[in-house]
Symmetry: C7
Subunit: 80 residues, 7 copies
């Protein structure tokens, strides 16, 4: 559901507590539950898993991601 | 129609709710419906699809794109 | 004609409505009609065409270019 | 335990005095005890060890890490 | 003549109207007549020529160069 | 000794006058005596030596290092 | 002589009028007489010479160097 998205950060706010896919600049991806973010797009995921070439590479648990390494964030399965 | 474009962000404002093509720095492209943007050119697309080498690679749904990874945004089929 | 150019942005202001060549950092070029720019050198081109290795690769129509991907902008055929 | 995490830096604050894994942009990792951080995500680790390809490469002791080289910070074994 | 150079931008100010060599980060060089610059080191050259591997590759005429792509600017033959 | 480190720069302050190891982004390292630093992590070393692949490559003496090229700074042998 | 160096820029101030070695990010070096600098570490050298692989490649004369391309600056032979 995309109603009520006026600003880009609204998407992140709506995704709190839900699973998101994050594409990083180093060709890796992270999936996890979005716990927190700030205006620099620094992100905290819970139950974070690092994915390389489509395979689950590492379970990282609670993880702080620095915003400037992020390409996109997709709360994929949240949309209907 | 390009009347009324005084500042670069006017193009993005006119493209809200329409399909756009976004070229990213990592040689990938995204297409999707532009929902929101801010002055950092952070972007929200709905029904985002990632395109690599001209082929639809992944359907991402609702997606937040960080502005500093974007090369250009083209609301291509909107222009007459 | 280069009279009256006191600051770099004067060149872009004089080129509004005219064809420009833009060299991007990813070794690609764009040509198109300059519609708008801002102090970040974000650019809007109309009838934008992407050029790779001297060949017209894609017609993009109206396009927003993020300033930090630009190396140079040349309103080439405007100068006498 | 992830209660009480409102902002990304809360994760780092909770991890003070505990072991963290830090992924750097140069494909290296550091592990060590988090002593201090600031809003630029500059970090101080004690008993820092540099890890390359999963192997302990160098023991560095007390180390100051510049924030802009960091991809993620994971206080991995702290979470239950 | 280097008298009266107190700040780096004094060199650019003295070079206005004169030929300069500009080394860009993409291993290319530009030569042309310096018309204007600003504090971001955005530059306008007239009669700009792009030089690759020591050979004149393209005549660009009036050209706006974005400051963050510049390594050095040398008003070479102006110095005695 | 790590008592009294509240902020990351405290580590650098404590290391003044002592030998530090600095890892640079270009895969090189510097060792030398830390004389001064600022909030950009610009650094001055005395008796600086450049190290490449573990070998002492060049003795540089007094050297100013620009902060944005630094990955980490380790006052290694100072810690007990 | 390193007395009186409280802040990193003091080293550059003391080196005015003296020969310095500058390491650039593109693996090239410059030597020349330091004439001026600013807080961005923009630099003006007189009698600048570009050095590649230890060989004098080009004499550039008076040269403006953009600060963000600089790794280190060493007024090497000035120290006793």
């Amino acid at each position: 559901m995309v109603d009520g998205i006026e600003r880009p950060l609204d998407v992140l706010n709506n995704a709190k507590g839900k699973e998101v896919l994050i594409q990083l600049k180093n060709n890796k991806q992270m999936v996890g539950t979005l716990l927190a973010f700030d205006i620099h797009i620094n992100i905290v995921l819970n139950n974070a898993k690092e994915i390389v070439d489509g395979e689950n590479k590492r379970s990282l648990g609670l993880t702080f991601l620095r915003g400037d390494t992020i390409i996109f964030i997709s709360p994929a399965n949240v949309v209907k």
